[in-house]
Amino acid sequence: MAGTVIAQGITIEGELTSDDDVLIQGTLRGKLVTKESVSIENGATVEADIAASSLSVGGQIRGNVTAKDRVDLMPGARLIGDVKASRLTIADGASFKGNVDMDV
């Protein structure tokens, strides 16, 4: 289980920094930086720039995303913002608007 869970019904506004996995089911506005993975579940709303080792998205994000390892947009995901990651997958049914930088 993730070290940090922003559960459904919880709203965070501000800057969240972590050494551990972060699971978002609620709402986050601001900025999120973690050394580990971030998972944004279906139903979550994120308006934040995110930096993480990897990112998996099933919910909605508006913000720029940087991942050391990979970004996965699952079915139902909605991302408006730029992605910088060495690997990116966009599942059927995910929507995405923004630029991709795969660091080539």
Binding site: G3, G9, I10
Partner: protein, 125 residues
């Protein structure tokens, strides 16, 4: 210790060890803080500040359990429990307040209760 699962549909948020928040956190559910928060905390459920956790903020919650360090005022609609490992500086306000031996607390304590009429009180404050 039993995990309070009073919140509906598993609405239990955790700010893990090594996680720091500068800003505001609020919502309907419970919140467990093992990391640190500077800013503002307002949850409707139970707030648990675990040992090793740190909050520098005014705190509003349904009920509050403090095992870590807290600098700021606590306002609870229900009970406030200060455990032995806690360090608290700030005003405590709740329907009932308990402080375990070993805890360090500096600040005002305001428990809401009705004064008996013979003491001339119609209520607290």
């Amino acid at each position: 210790m039993a995990r309070a699962s009073s919140a509906s549909q598993g609405n239990s948020a955790v700010l893990g060890k090594g996680t720091r928040l500068r800003g505001r956190i609020g919502g309907d559910g419970d919140l467990r803080v093992e990391g640190s928060i500077a800013g503002e905390v307002a949850v409707k459920g139970q707030l648990v500040l675990a040992e090793g956790g740190e909050i520098v903020a005014d705190v509003q919650a349904g009920s509050v359990v403090v095992e870590g360090a807290l600098e700021g005022d606590i306002t609870a609609t229900d009970a406030v429990a200060i455990r032995a490992s806690a360090r608290v500086s700030g005003a405590l306000k709740g329907s009932s307040i308990s402080i375990e031996e070993g805890a360090s607390v500096s600040g005002r304590i305001e428990a809401e209760f009705d004064m008996p009429p013979e003491l001339g009180g119609k209520g607290s404050r």
